[in-house]
Amino acid sequence: MLEDALNRLNLGPVSGLRRLSGGASQETWAFEAGGKPLILRRKPEGLAGSGNAIGLAKEAALIRAAEKQGAPVPPIVHVCTFEDGLGEAYVMGRVEGEALGRRIVRDDTFAAVRPTLARRCGEVLAQIHSIPLDGLPDLPISDAASELAKYEAIYRSVGDHRPIFEAAFRWLKDRAPPLDKPVLVHGDFRNGNLMIHPSQGLAAVLDWELAHLGDPAEDLAWICVNSWRFGGSQPVGGFGSYEDLLAGHGNDVPLDRVLYWQTLGSLKWGVMCLIMYAAYASGADASVERAMIGRRTSETEIDLIALLEKAA
């Protein structure tokens, strides 16, 4: 049925349709049509959008805007309408490369390109952050204070007593920087959402569903959160230095501000682990993966203590 609907898009005869794993809030399907490797990204039927996701039509519009700015993104081939019978969905070109952080950080295949990645990430984020805001679809806007309020409310609703989270919320709230000039923030720029090619480096920035208007330091910091380093010793995604990342961005964001947002990022990921565990505790998702992710909360607490001690 899905294949019939794809055939009606006039992209050429569809073959090799298969569901890819990963992507909890969106379905991802790979297929070939007209000799081209393609991806269908689609909202699962009957599932309400996740709280922060902007919706797939907006996502496609942002990818096109990023492409216009020169950022590496998958080419958008078709944005589905109601008549296509695929629900909320779009089709994009399939970009060659690897997104799994563990491989990018450790495999010999990426040894040559690894030293260039941090600077390249800074350059690409600078392109994203310079996308003109007029002409973009309506997006939520958030600064450090509103992010903290959102995640503190979630943490309080869970009812845990985690002293390191308490100290971190307090410390971050006391120092929340004002949002001087909002830019387009990708919102999930990290290992896992970056397609890395063994010789060309950063080939595509994926998963735009958490995009919003906000502080450029938020994007620069999220890829530095220890949970995305996959055991790599370097701060930027396990593969590069702060100096390279910030130089790539044009040295226009101070390291202090990145470290502030990195601390907020660790706290946010810690609360997200609690949310994912809550899906197990409520009976909504009985998988051992959901149960066990609750035990990843402590990794963010140990990172928070290290960051807060250094900042003091």
Binding site: A167, N226, S298, I302
Partner: protein, 122 residues
């Protein structure tokens, strides 16, 4: 208490069964979930071994820090309230030392190979 087999022996037996018998027959997501299941059992194993001592030490540190008696969950909740209110901060060396020691013990149970554990000297 029944000690033959011990709870640790039972966990080891189940881990062995999953790793040697069950996992090789699984594919894709189920193979991944088998790996997560082994990690979960290994964490339970470490909690049985290390948890009681870690909680006793944390409770003693909290009594010293807050200056009164109480069980772990009462004292920990009080610490949380006072940190949230800003009455206690990490600038207090005793607070910092307690939080570091507690989280090192917890990560030793949850993820002993986590890079952040080595960074904090655990």
């Amino acid at each position: 208490m029944i000690t033959s087999p011990t709870s640790l022996e039972l966990i080891d037996a189940v881990i062995g069964f999953i790793e040697q018998r069950a996992a090789p027959q699984l594919k894709d997501r189920d193979a991944f979930l088998a790996h997560v299941a082994v990690n979960a059992l290994a964490a339970v194993r470490r909690e049985i071994e290390l948890g009681p001592q870690a909680e006793a030490a944390a409770t003693q540190r909290l009594r010293d820090l807050l200056g009164h008696e109480g069980d772990f969950s009462e004292l920990n909740a009080e610490l949380c309230d006072r940190l949230a209110a800003g009455e206690l901060t990490l600038k207090d060396p005793a607070v910092l030392a307690h939080l570091k020691a507690s989280i090192v013990d917890q990560v030793e149970i949850d993820q002993p190979n986590y890079s952040g554990l080595k960074a904090l000297g655990g």
